[in-house]
Amino acid sequence: MTEDPLLRIDDLTVEYKSARHWAPAVRGASLRVEPGEFVSLVGESGSGKTTLVQAALGLLPPSARQSAGTVHYSDVDVTGWSDRRMALVRGNYVGFIPQDPNTSLNPVKKIGQQVIEAVRFNEKQKRDAAAWKEAALESLRTAGLADAERVFAQYPHELSGGMKQRALIAIALAGKPKLILADEPTSALDVTVQQRILDHLAGLRVDLGIGILLVTHDLGVALDRSDRIAVMQGGEIVEEGPVAEVIEHAADPYTRRLLDAAPARHTGRLEPATGTRAEDQPIALRANDIEKTYRLRGRGRRELRALGGVDLEVRQGTTHAIVGESGAGKSTLARILVGFDAPDAGTVHLGDRELTGLGHRQLRELRSDLQFVFQNPFTSLDPRFTVEKIVAEPLRAFKIPGDRRSRVVQLLEAVALDESHLGRLPAELSGGQRQRVAIARALALNPEVLVLDEAVSALDVSVQAQILQLLVDLQGEFGLAYVFVTHDLGVVRLIADDVTVMKDGAVVESGPAVKVFEAPAQDYTRELLAAVPGARLAPANVRLGDCRV
């Protein structure tokens, strides 16, 4: 190799100050990015991948310190540089694309001004305002915003998430850097948008010859586009190498488990551990011609049609997945199915009982047969309740007689937790454990139907795999029917018997999962399927529940 790598991190250790001592978040990590290379850094939450990037940029929070190791940009050692000196490197030599486009732009400044700043801070010789503006517009165009003039004069809140992320890419490119660090740049975006943004990044590497370091939790995303990937776990880089090599001969057991847990690795539906899957079951939950329109505030009488004539049928003991991107109306539908919201028109039947139009009291009676699991296990559990109290809450609310504690233990065992968790608070549980507790609570009243709204979306991929297997096992055991709302088609493949694809409040396609996946009838479904990352992962038949990480 004649050239120095763009970025070379050697034996980096970063520690965070905790109550009494310094706890390491990154331990002796080494990484390099060559010119024109696309490197992905993969890891689950808490693996230290973001800290590594912050350290490379000199943007560690005040509570962290770099206690060992060096960071080189080309042949310059920037270890221990002051903030003022690092400011000269940032933007100029290394650009950064942040995680959440919705919070990463200044809300009170026009996009153009924010890009111009990036141009101005990094210019080599002095130029005038017209030249700045031209450079900013050019940067916006390079970032894939064809209508650069219009975006230039807009505020962040006037743009969609994907456009904001492109504006942020424009800001990162404005200083003409040789290297771009991107921290989960697409995690907050819909799959089809994610695909376009990542394609664009990969294209920039070819066109501009810059190096890219992509930080992601999604192995599929990393494998699709990278030249090399590095896998991080517990602050250490446990595996590093060209993509093909990692897929074929991952040396590290953690990497292999991650590979196996990726939804793209599995073609068919998961099989329950016990019990059998039902065929030709009667309908457990049926929605007919549901309509819902939100009236936006103000005198303009603007209306947002969230749902326009949606039908849905869920058979007993099966899973019906509702898939769609943000704004498709899938969460609104889920809330109407369980009676949290009332539809403007249409009916919902649970078995042969009609749900719609019932009063609070009658609806409450039905709740024991119809339960809901929320997306975020970090907010859906009362932080001051113990696990026992959380799971027993429905039992108390419905005054179920009998020994509550033994019932709670029984429920915890059903979700693969045990008695030792009874006295714990949610804060003492991991994300996966919390979602197990939430599921146990939903099961407490022996419901027939469980509506799960993005129930695994907030979880790491290995934990997600465990929860999915758990859901399938519970279904086999208790004959539950699931309505599984998700944006992730990869997950749908693993769990669904039937699929309904939604877009803009209407059903695009509906049918048996096998049929929708093998022979999608609609373009939109095909587009969604093509956008699912992980195409390079060959399917392998592994039982997901065994992927304990």
Binding site: V89, H157, E158, G175, G298, R299, G300
Partner: protein, 316 residues
Amino acid sequence: MLRYAALKTGRALFVVWAAFTLTFVLLFVLPANPEDLLFDPTELNTIPEEVREQVAANYGFDEPVVVQYFQRLGHALAGDFGNSVQSGKPVTEAVLGVLPSTLILSAGALALAALIAYAIALTATSTRRPWLRNLVESLPSAAVSVPVFLSGILLLQVFAFRLGWFPAFGSDGPASLVLPLVTLAIPVSGPIAQLLVRRFTAELESGYVTTSRAKGATRDQIVKGDVFRNASLPALTITGVTFGNLIAGSVITETVFAREGIGRLTQTAINTLDVPLVQGIVVLVAASFALINLAVDLVYPLLDPRLRATLAAATA
């Protein structure tokens, strides 16, 4: 946008009307013999019945309450709150005569308070020394907890009597304004500073700051270019509300420093039970309070494009 402005103006007018109605009920309806309030309580029993009746007729107390109310409301709308019982001068004239003095004091104190608040917030966020940050952050609560009369007397002792830099009393010349200004500004600056420190800290941790740092901006550039405006928006709201505190604070300040102004006038009006004057003052103070908050409400959308967008959407 127009609808928003009309709504806010309507709300301001309602506040003023409510103040008028409430004072009318308290001062003219609830007392059994409102004309009693017009005489010195010590001499009340010596006043002959005919005089009382004549006075009551003069003030319209013999009319039904509803008629009285609309008469007074009509006069008030034309800017006439009747005559002061003590001086016999029109109330409007008496209030407007001292209003500029109080307005200068309040506005000056507000500006000074904002200055102090920003100084505290900027020092706290830009310093790298933890002890300095802790010290500066404790100032707002200290500022709130010192009562105006105490800090006023303290300032008088040191700067007027000991050092002789500023006059102790009176209301002539800019020099006489300095000590009352400082006295009034200190407690008002506390809540604003506290809010600003919190906002600055929170905004500095937000995503767009990271973006700016990655652009190559230095910390100073970020505080100036990004954080300042975003952190100031909530402070603007609290500043409007604080204006009420200022007028209340001016009563004590003007008494301590023997300055003429609304505060002193109020004090005298209450001491002498000058009912029309009290009502005039309450309504005018309510009006200026409503006016300031109206201004804040109308300026807000100019500073925050997001609010502007929701307003445009609502009226589209």
